[in-house]
């Protein structure tokens, strides 16, 4: 190794990043070469000067200023993104609670409004059940066939309709459609157009809070007794009677077998839905249908309470 080669490697030599062989060669060279030895000494001095440079301290405001810029940037970045992806930045605990509150609130509101909706639907039964009863005297009008509800109705009759419902509800008696009403309606029908019916539909809809012709009362067309399957026949029977009485109904019970009780209940029509709801709490209701006279203020329900077979419980 000549001096040039050695001096080229002195820097790495000083740092100790050199192979053992090279190191040995350089050491050997340095022993006899004063020039290279001096070069190494100068190099080491130079390195020491550089190393001895004092460190400067960052200014006191440094972190603050950096963070102000960083936050500014972060906000700008989020501003754009969050506008689009707001729901993805959910603060889970907070928003989950809010969501649960909303759901619970909605369910509560729905529950508390439900009876009103149901009540509003009851009169539909009367109106809908009426036409079949009065179908006979109808003149065969092509437009009327199959869509009795769509028969055009005059404004005069509309008010009559509404009045009739009020009476219905107040007295809870058998009214339905009187023949007079039928005749009048049929007479009025040809004179007016379908547009009139639409108006009626709207008006009645808003005034009575119902629009749906087929109300939730899907029971009306069904026949046969309501079958309730229970474990404890006696308790269930008592309970059913109790429910009926609480709703102002009259009950009479027969027990044709030891596993069966038949309860006949006369109940206000607008209580039927509630009654069925309560009944479902008593046992497994198979609503094959129910017996009752359509279009009446009160209905007769036959409830068959049956003991669940194969069950040994008392």
């Amino acid at each position: 190794m000549d001096c040039r080669e050695v001096q080229k490697k002195l820097s790495a030599f000083a740092d100790g990043v050199i192979t053992a062989g090279e190191r040995k060669q350089i050491m050997m060279h340095l022993k006899k070469c004063k020039g290279c030895k001096r070069a190494l000494a100068d190099l080491k001095k130079t390195i020491r000067y550089v190393q001895r440079l004092e460190e400067v301290e960052p200014p006191a405001w440094f972190v603050q200023r950096v963070m102000a810029r960083v936050r500014d940037k972060a906000e700008k970045k989020q501003g754009i993104w969050q506008r689009f992806f707001l729901p993805l930045h959910i603060k889970v605990p907070l928003e989950a609670i809010a969501l649960i509150c909303m759901v619970v609130g909605a369910v509560y509101i729905f529950k508390s409004m439900e009876p009103e909706i149901r009540l509003a639907k009851i009169p539909t039964e009367t109106r809908e059940s009426a036409p079949p009863a009065a179908a006979v005297p109808q003149k065969e009008k092509p437009a009327d066939v199959g869509k009795k509800r769509h028969a055009p109705v005059t404004g005069r009759e509309r008010s009559r309709f509404e009045k009739k419902y009020q009476v219905d509800e107040e007295r809870s008696v058998k009214v339905a459609q009187t023949p007079t009403a039928q005749v009048e309606r049929k007479e009025a029908a040809p004179a007016t157009g379908y547009a009139d019916y639409d108006t009626l539909k709207r008006d009645v809809g808003s005034s009575l809070q119902e629009e749906q012709p087929q109300g939730t009362m899907a029971l009306k067309a069904k026949e046969g007794p309501l079958v309730v399957r229970v474990r404890d026949l006696t308790a269930a029977r008592t309970r059913v009677e109790e429910i009926a009485r609480q709703m102002g109904g009259q009950t009479s019970t027969t027990t044709p077998g030891k596993d069966k009780a038949v309860i006949t209940i006369v109940l206000d029509r607008d209580k039927v839905y509630d009654f069925l709801t309560q009944l479902r709490l008593v046992g497994e209701v198979r609503d094959k249908g129910w017996q009752g006279e359509q279009g009446k203020g009160s209905v007769t329900l036959t409830v068959e309470v049956k003991k669940l077979s194969g069950d040994q419980s008392d």
């Binding site: 001895r52 440079l53 440094f62 972190v63």
Partner: protein, 201 residues
């Protein structure tokens, strides 16, 4: 060699938080690395105010790009590389300006506290003992300033910041052999410069 502690592991927790959008976590990283960042920038650029600007920019750039930080290297290595790059760009701009203005060997050398006249090998060399430590430092910084940016960087990272050859290689994205040869030339340049300005080492 100044202490190079393995800080990567401590940083990573904060880095993860930053990547999740937690700006506060970044403050820890700034506090932890501000001094080193500033010193790297300061020694490369040779001016305190400029260095503060560069270090700030580097931190902001790091935050902006933190999502792209893959854990291949240590966070500090990645961070200092940003700083080095910004300093280099700044330096380039300054150098270009100097070139346009034209330079002479007798032009004063920029130092942190202003400018320092080039002191050619004097006929009567001043003994080192009589130079105050502060003056020596000024000479040293002045000499660093005269180095080419490639050499300056390795000198600052190795002899001032005490990084290993591997770390420097990672920061500058050059092979370790290149670091070695650049360092040799940087030190030679320093030696010559110091001899020139101080007369004798």
């Amino acid at each position: 060699m100044r202490g190079t502690k393995q800080r990567g592991d401590e940083d990573l927790a904060f880095v993860t938080l930053c990547q999740e959008g937690d700006a506060d976590a970044f403050e820890h990283l700034v506090r932890r690395h501000q001094k080193r960042m500033l010193n790297i920038a300061y020694r490369v650029i040779g001016n305190y105010d400029e260095a503060c600007e560069i270090a700030q920019d580097a931190f902001v750039a790091a935050y902006k790009n933190i999502a792209g930080f893959q854990r291949k290297a240590k966070f500090s290595t990645w961070l200092y590389a940003i700083c080095i790059n910004l300093a280099r760009n700044r330096r380039k701009r300054l150098t270009t300006r100097h070139f346009r203005e034209g330079r002479s060997l007798d032009d004063p050398i920029a130092t942190p506290d202003g400018e320092m006249a080039v002191d050619p090998p004097a006929s009567e060399p001043t003994p080192l003992e009589r130079l105050e430590a502060r003056d020596i430092r000024h000479h040293v910084q002045g000499c660093i300033n005269t180095l080419d940016v490639d050499f300056k960087e390795v000198l600052v990272l190795r002899d001032i910041q005490g990084f290993s050859y591997e770390e420097i290689s990672a920061m500058l994205k050059v092979p370790a052999g290149t670091v070695k040869s650049r360092l040799f030339r940087a030190r030679e340049g320093m030696k010559d410069c110091l001899k020139k300005v101080m007369g004798e080492l």
